[in-house]
């Protein structure tokens, strides 16, 4: 079988035709790691579409494989001139207006392991099937649809460069079928001559520590037991969702447990503390609702919804790209 597909591949090359792509799931796996092998420059347009309005972000990107990336923001106006440089697991957010560099530390190795595990979750919950090839920025792309196994709905379309396996376009859909996010790489140029100096951090700016995101762990049970209080977990999750990671972080001296659940594409985070530390929604347009008869508020940030409520001194926040109704149902199942 393998020999036959190899022969077909070489026959296709000899005949000048595009070789038949590998199984869709294999191509997706290749696409996940393509940035580790491919260097490129281009322009990325990101659309985040909420129920009422959409936000657009445009940035120039220079990526030198395996792990040097610079994003230079062109829009929105407030970000113009700012940039983010990723050097391995460290991210430098360069804020030119405030003349400061915010340094955030990630955990590369763990992320790779987590990504592999999460890919398995993705494949457990979604069928990857090909749609007809398309053209993005003058390049032939294979289009892979990820259809939810429980609902049959297409949740994501991934456009993968037929030559480099890099993802050039991606669309995500809500459960009602509406588009909620789109990322598109334009004017892409593959090159191996991107100077390292491009990824240098400018000197003379104040350096500050970025928000600590805690020691993210995929051992969720261990994270829960390390919270220092009797943590609650949801009894209900949408089909296919399972815990994938968590961390405990001190925010303003308040130990906060963060658990994250995913079905491989969609994600939801549950934050909780028992120190009566409420969520400050004053910078957002908060709308009142209830979670199992408890007064609650929610805000929308593009397709992401944040739902906050309290039960005595215990404060909860659910954040995810799910509908408000689903978040309220999850929230109600968190209460005793």
């Amino acid at each position: 079988m393998a020999r036959n597909s190899g022969l077909a591949f070489f026959a296709a090359i000899l005949l000048g035709a595009t070789p038949a792509p590998p199984p869709a799931a294999d191509l997706l796996r290749e696409a996940m790691t393509a940035p580790q092998r491919v260097s490129y420059v281009g322009e990325v347009q990101v659309l985040s579409i909420g129920p009422q309005h959409a936000d657009a972000t445009i940035y120039r990107v220079e990526h030198r494989a395996p792990d040097l990336t610079r994003r230079w923001y062109m829009a929105p106006q407030d970000l113009y001139g700012d940039s983010v440089v990723s050097r391995g697991s460290t991210t430098y957010s360069i804020d030119v207006k405030r003349q400061r560099v915010v340094v955030s530390q990630g955990e590369d190795a763990d992320e790779e392991i987590a990504a592999r595990g999460n890919f398995d979750i993705l494949m457990n919950n979604y069928n990857a099937v090909y749609a007809p090839d398309e053209n993005v920025s003058g390049r032939i792309v294979h289009v892979v649809l990820l259809n939810n196994k429980y609902t049959g709905q297409t949740t994501m379309r991934v456009h993968i460069d037929a030559r480099t396996n890099l993802v050039l376009e991606r669309q995500q859909y809500a459960t009602n079928g509406s588009l909620i996010a789109q990322t598109r790489v334009e004017q892409i140029r593959y090159t191996n001559s991107i100077p390292a100096a491009l990824f240098q951090i400018p000197s003379g700016m104040q350096r500050v520590e970025g928000a600590a995101h805690g020691q993210e762990s995929t051992d969720v049970e261990q994270v829960i037991s390390s919270a220092g209080f009797d943590a609650r977990v949801p009894k209900y999750l949408p089909e296919g969702f399972s815990p994938i990671a968590g961390d405990v972080v001190s925010i303003k001296n308040v130990p906060t447990l963060h658990l994250i659940y995913s079905d491989g594409i969609r994600t939801v985070s549950l934050f909780q503390n028992e120190k009566d530390a409420a969520v400050d929604l004053s910078h957002y347009h908060a709308i009142s609702t209830t979670v199992a008869d408890h007064p609650a508020h929610y805000v929308e940030d593009g397709p992401t919804v944040l739902l906050a409520w309290a039960d005595g001194n215990r404060h909860f926040a659910l954040v995810g790209e799910l509908s408000l109704a689903e978040l309220e149902k999850i929230g109600a199942s968190v209460l005793p």
Binding site: D95, G106, A211, D247, A277, D280, D301
Partner: protein, 159 residues
């Protein structure tokens, strides 16, 4: 202090009536501003003259006057009974302000008990942390724009 102190500020300064910060600012200004120093000296000399005049005008009461006042005050007459004292407390002029003070104190106590210096955590932190931890999800870029570029707040909540 960039502007010159007002005449009222100079008078209050000379009498030590300003708040500590304002007092220090006026002192600093006077050390470097000749016109204001002159105004202050003028004010101080006028105050001193008035004080000297008042001191010179003071008269001791004649020796017997004070004694006769105290002897005229009969302790049994100035100590009212408990009913009279209660009635005095229940006069509207006393009772209404007291009741208002009690109500304000009760409300303040209730308010501080229910809203006692609660720590507030900006929703942006949760959105940011959610995005950061979802970066390991396949085909999810995590934070498209780090929140750090939108806020002046540091990781520990300070500005």
């Amino acid at each position: 202090m960039k502007s010159h102190p007002s005449p009222e500020q100079l008078i209050d300064y000379s009498h030590g009536e300003l708040a500590p910060g304002e007092d220090a600012a006026v002192l600093l200004h006077l050390e470097g501003c000749v016109p204001c120093r002159a105004r202050y000296d003028e004010e101080a000399s006028l105050s001193e003259a008035l004080r000297n005049f008042a001191h010179a005008s003071e008269c001791e009461l004649p020796a017997g006057v004070r004694a006769s006042i105290f002897s005229a005050v009969d302790p049994s007459r100035v100590q009212p009974g408990w009913t009279a004292r209660l009635a005095a407390w229940l006069r509207p002029a006393v009772a209404i302000p007291v009741a208002a003070a009690v109500l304000i104190a009760a409300f303040a106590g209730y308010d501080s008990a229910t809203h006692r210096s609660r720590t507030m955590i900006d929703a942006a932190y949760y959105l940011d942390d959610h995005a950061a931890l979802t970066s390991a999800v396949p085909f999810n870029e995590g934070n498209i724009v780090p929140t750090a570029l939108f806020t002046t707040e540091n990781a520990d909540g300070t500005q």
